[in-house]
């Protein structure tokens, strides 16, 4: 059974690239366009890993992460937070709400894939 990965980002072109990378690796890919969709998808589909954009309209990635960690049923979901804001405070915030890993945009596709593989290993 293939592993499920959820891609949550509001930038369509970034979704395109992430979706392509994950599919090429053989994962089953789900897509969410904002925070609310992402949370719903996590609860419904129980993906093993979420690639979560920090800055989404409505519910931000930080909010999603917090909600996931607070939810008994899905709290073990691996979360890799992606953000276009590279300040230290943003990293700290991501870790603070319980993200497993954190990468800044633009990222190196190889580094990202390595990280994903490590996390799912």
């Amino acid at each position: 059974m293939s592993l499920k990965v959820l891609v949550a980002d509001d930038e369509p072109n970034i979704v395109v690239s992430l979706e392509f990378m994950m599919k090429r690796e053989g994962y089953e890919v789900l897509v969410a366009r904002d925070g609310r969709q992402a949370l719903e998808a996590i609860r419904r589909e129980r993906p093993q890993l979420v690639l979560l954009d920090a800055m989404m309209p409505g519910m931000s990635g930080f909010d999603v992460c917090e909600a996931v960690r607070a939810d008994e049923a899905v709290r073990d979901t691996q979360i890799l937070m992606l953000t276009a804001k590279g300040r230290d405070t943003d990293v700290a915030r991501g870790v603070g709400v319980g993200a497993d890993a954190y990468m800044t945009k633009p990222f190196s596709t190889r580094d990202l894939m390595q990280k994903v593989r490590d996390m799912l290993a």
Partner: protein
Amino acid sequence: MIAASLVLGVSFGYLSLLFAIAAFGDRRAALGRSVIDNAWIYALSLAVYCTAWTYFGSVGRAAASGVWFLPIYLGPMLAMLLAWIVVRKMIRIAHTYRITSIADFIASRYGKSPLLAALVTLITVVGIVPYIALQLKAISAGYHVLTGGPQAPGLPAIAWWQDGTLLVALALAAFTIIFGTRHLDSAERHEGMVAAIAFESIVKLVAFLSVGAFVTWGLFDGMADIWSRGQAFPELRALLRLGGESGVASFGYAQWFALTLLSMLSVLLLPRQFQMMVVECVDEQHLRRAAWVFPAYLLLINVFVLPIAIGGQIIFGPGRMDAETFVLSLPLAHGAPALALFAYVGGLSAATGMLIVETIAVSTMVCNDLVMPSLLRLSGFGARAGGDLTQQLLNIRRGAILAVLMLGYLYFHVAGEAYALVSIGLISFAAVAQFAPALLVGMYWRGGTRAGALGGLLGGFAMWAYTLMLPSVAKSGWIPVGFVGHGPFGIELLAPERLFGLNGLDNLTHSLFWSLLANVGLYVGLSLWRAPSAREASQALLFVDVFERGRASGQASPVFWRGRARLEDLTTLACRLLGANRAGQLFEEHAREIGVAEVRNLVADARLVDRVERQLAGTVGSASARVMVASVVQEEPLAIDDVIEILDEASQLRGYARALEDKSRALELATAELRAANEQLQSLDHLKDDFMSSVTHELRTPLTSIRALSELMLDAPDMEVDQREEFLRIVVSESERLSRLVNQVLDMAKIESGHAEWHNTDVNMAKLVENAVRAASELFRERGAAVELSLPDQVPLIRSDPDRLTQVMLNLLSNAAKFVPAKAGRVGVVLRTDGDGLVVEVHDNGPGVPLGEQATVFEKFRQGGDAQNRPPGTGLGLPICRQIIDHFGGRMWLESEPGGGACFAFRLPLQPAEFKKRREESL
């Protein structure tokens, strides 16, 4: 008839209650929770004005002469109208210079003259002791009415030790000694005493109102019933009219005026009023409430005077019963002994309240201004002799209290039934009215001198004694009455009640006229005749300008003293009169205020001498304090020039102080401005931070796609062509987005920093709008949208930068094109003149802007719509447009109802502000 033992028991029970209240007040004061620091208590304590003379006498007066009891209460009401001006100044002066009696006040004003203080004290004693006797008589008479029944007149002869009046007098002496001489400094108030007096004011009011209600509604059917039944008696009809039998024409205006004036003065000048209103006042602000509560009190206590007076005469028959006892005899005769007893307690409270306060006030004067000066002359008691005098001083004051009360009792005993006592209330008023010129004028007129005050007081007092006191003594049968009618030695011109042939006035008005005429005449005449001495002039300044100069500790207030003093001498003196504790406190406080660490390092300068003297004044009166201080220091005589010099110094100091204040205020202002500027900078910095963070985010987002997709293509040379093409297309479009963003960020930064270039020319907006729409027509065709353009025939030219305005137009048009529905879009562009401006509107039939986003569409990086369906944009277009329109003095706004399309519009003024300004400058 009520058993004597019950009346006595109730009387002493009531007195015990007073003791308890006073003790409670003192205990609370010791705990620092004053009960009298309260405007209501203050106002009630002023009602000590209403004595037994009011309580019993008003009814008597009303029964004899109708409304003539009223001026006695109208005067105080009028006086209270001036309270905030006159009484507040008296309070401020008294508190600033630690003045504790009316004698002290007058003496202090005229150079702290011991002679003047003694004179005022003597006048007070002569004028007030009979008044005290009157109160004792009222208690005694009330007692006999209650125990002997209404028919028993006069005093049965009894041994003195059985005399309840004496016992009451002694009990009151004990009360006054306990609560009036706790400590020496009268500036420290008699808290317990004031609380007890306020309580007494309530008791007498309630008691009198109860009797009034009993008579009006219990014995009659309301006031109207009393009036109508009173009409049946010709004697009573007259009472209800102002002018007596012959109508209004014969109304005694002069007498009415005299009585009102008299009571107006006495409410300020009676020793007990001065004590309560000025000395015991905790807070000037209490005056505000007292100014209406006290008159209201007087009004209330007078409501039932006429009903009781007339009702009593209807019931007993006119003239058949002493009207002064109606308050007691009416309830007693009609089966309400409990009410009669209560009424008696009310009368007792009126009498005791007066006795207590009057005794404290008079004994303070007697002690400070009669006994002390004599003692100071005795060797061994002088200021340089050793030993703590505080206990002795207290004993002297206690002795004075006992003496004053016993003097009153003696007077009552000897002259109990005499005419002199019956009319003594008004005679006392007339005596203290003699203080008015020296005290009231002296507060406002610097020119008043000691000689003037002495002359005025002596002249006025002599006139009073001759025209009012002597005749009343004569009418009592103590001296031959003949001289009243025909003048001494048969000289008609000197007849005391028709002096110099002045006819047609009643004896009181007559006396008041002559005494005040002599008083004011001598006061003003003598004051103008000789210039004041330096000390008088300096005291006059301190009094008249008390609000400007009086601050007790203000460095800038002048101190009129020159000479040399030794700290040890001052310390010894203070210790003797204040006690070691209070003296120590005094010096420590002074040291703290002027910033000297050790008391022994204090320099005995003028300010310290002044401070010690003020403190002593609170204890022994300012005149005695002056004498004592002068005896331990070496003073240089003060000349008028010195006074002026000291004043100059003080005003210079005040000037410096004010300059310093101004400077510090300016500094504070500058600090506040700096702080505000700093805050603004910080918030700007914060804004810039936010902007940078947003820009970074916006730049990284397209970069992310570009990098990721490029890397993916690089890593997968075998990628399908379709896939590769799609990726390349994304890379290109994201690159375009990136460069657009970079351009706009730079544009924005330039405009915001003011470095943008503006090429202003005269612009024809109609043409500009038309061109912009034509340039955007390709966009609309792609979306299948229809554009409707509405231009006026004539448009005034405006001064502006056409490129920038085109930029704005294109931005609005492309926004509209982005948001209209595909194939069914309709965009309207309108240009119109609007007053002195031009308005451009671009509206579309798109989804409109949600209410929640309308406020933020012009902010940076706030793109409309959701990310998936949103047409490409940077989030900087509208903010830039608004900046441009703002630059030309215009305004840009959005009108949109969700679902009803959006309308972006801007208005440009025909003459931008900067052109206007330039034109104005050139004119």
